[in-house]
Symmetry: C2
Subunit: 231 residues, 2 copies
């Protein structure tokens, strides 16, 4: 996936700042950081065993992506998403991922579809095993796999940022029993649409996926979206 051209692997090792960023982003989208939580860069630095500089850099990057809030004093917070803002994020994801799925339906090769299907199988297996981290990881892989097929790098970055912004809400989801998808999992609709090169069906499948997902999470946000910054 990385390079199908000649030579030149040797990807430089990540900087510390990138590692810290990756760790924090993982914690966010894994729901291990709770909304309202304060992130103190010196404390994090001590915990991670690095100097404050790369931690500060990672925090500011997350702020610029909208994944963290920065109050007037420069303190980073895991934001409490208001229901309205959450709805806007999911709405945009639906529009953008739907567009990517439509394009993917036109471009997908059988191999790519098979790869996606394998990801979805692992997702379902993780769900049967009630292994939340696996479910979350494979779900993310699935969604970005579709975007990769569509070859839309700008859209990909936008959705990555939206994904991170909605990340902390999923710990709410984990507190509630997962739905059983009486009409079948939307991913399966999407896979069929890709097989059939049916762009409209692909878009509809993604939109249904996100809509049903949001329908579960939204009510859980009501109680959660305080306005202040209690510490």
């Amino acid at each position: 996936m990385a390079s199908d051209t000649t030579l030149a692997p040797v990807d430089r090792d990540e900087t510390l700042a990138e590692k810290v960023y990756g760790r924090l982003r993982g914690a966010l989208v894994g729901g291990r950081l709770v909304p309202g939580q304060k992130l103190v860069h010196r404390q994090l630095a001590a915990e991670l065993g690095v100097s404050p500089t790369p931690v500060r850099e990672a925090l500011l990057r997350l702020v610029s992506e909208g994944a963290l809030d920065l109050d007037v004093r420069g303190i980073s917070w895991v934001p409490r998403l208001s229901p309205g803002r959450y709805a806007e994020i999911m709405d945009l994801r639906g529009e953008l991922e739907g567009r990517a799925a439509a394009r993917a339906a036109l471009l997908a090769t059988p191999e790519e579809i098979a790869t996606l299907r394998a990801i979805h199988d692992r997702l379902m297996e993780g769900r049967r095993a009630k292994d939340a981290p696996v479910v979350l990881a494979e779900n993310e892989r699935f969604h970005f796999g579709v975007i990769a097929i569509a070859r839309m790098p700008v859209l990909q970055k936008v959705v990555e940022h939206l994904w991170t912004q909605a990340g902390p809400t999923i710990n709410l989801l984990l507190t509630v029993p997962r739905p059983d998808w009486p009409n079948g999992h939307p991913h399966e609709d999407l896979l069929r649409a890709l097989d059939a090169h049916d762009a409209d069906a692909a878009r509809a499948a993604v939109e249904r996926d996100l809509r049903e997902y949001a329908k579960i999470v939204a009510p859980l946000l009501e109680r959660d979206s305080g306005h202040g910054n209690p510490d």
Copy 2:
């Protein structure tokens, strides 16, 4: 525009990093940084009279927004947009700004529309005076004014990032005579659509604006999008 509620102005003065970011972003969207240009944080720091730290912070923020490229060695470049990538950016802007305009058509008050119209008048006056900086600034104000009416903060941030990414291309635009909009300026269509609360027409106006804009810029990109990093 900032606070129509009681008390509490006193917005803390910007940090140096924010000032540097603002200056660099302005240079990007004003076309004063040429694609392919290398940005060396220590040199910039010396020019701006600050230490390397806030400059580095500003550069990395722009990188995370996609406005600058970072090569493997950690050097920041003003990216050369490929025609395909430019098209993707404008396509996404069309979709997102179109959506915002549609919503703005439902929400806009007469006062808000009047404000927009004043902005557009200044834009046209700047154009008659061939004052490019004014035209660019008022155009940006107009587009984000529409988004502000729509009350879509997440979308706003996304479009800001897209705007910055497409920024360096406008110096290409400045080399070419501006079109005369034989069918009238799309902004005027949009203003009429807002007046009429016609969401579909508003969306169409924005999409036409961006499409015709892109039609001018795209051919200019062909020659410009080298792949390498000449210095």
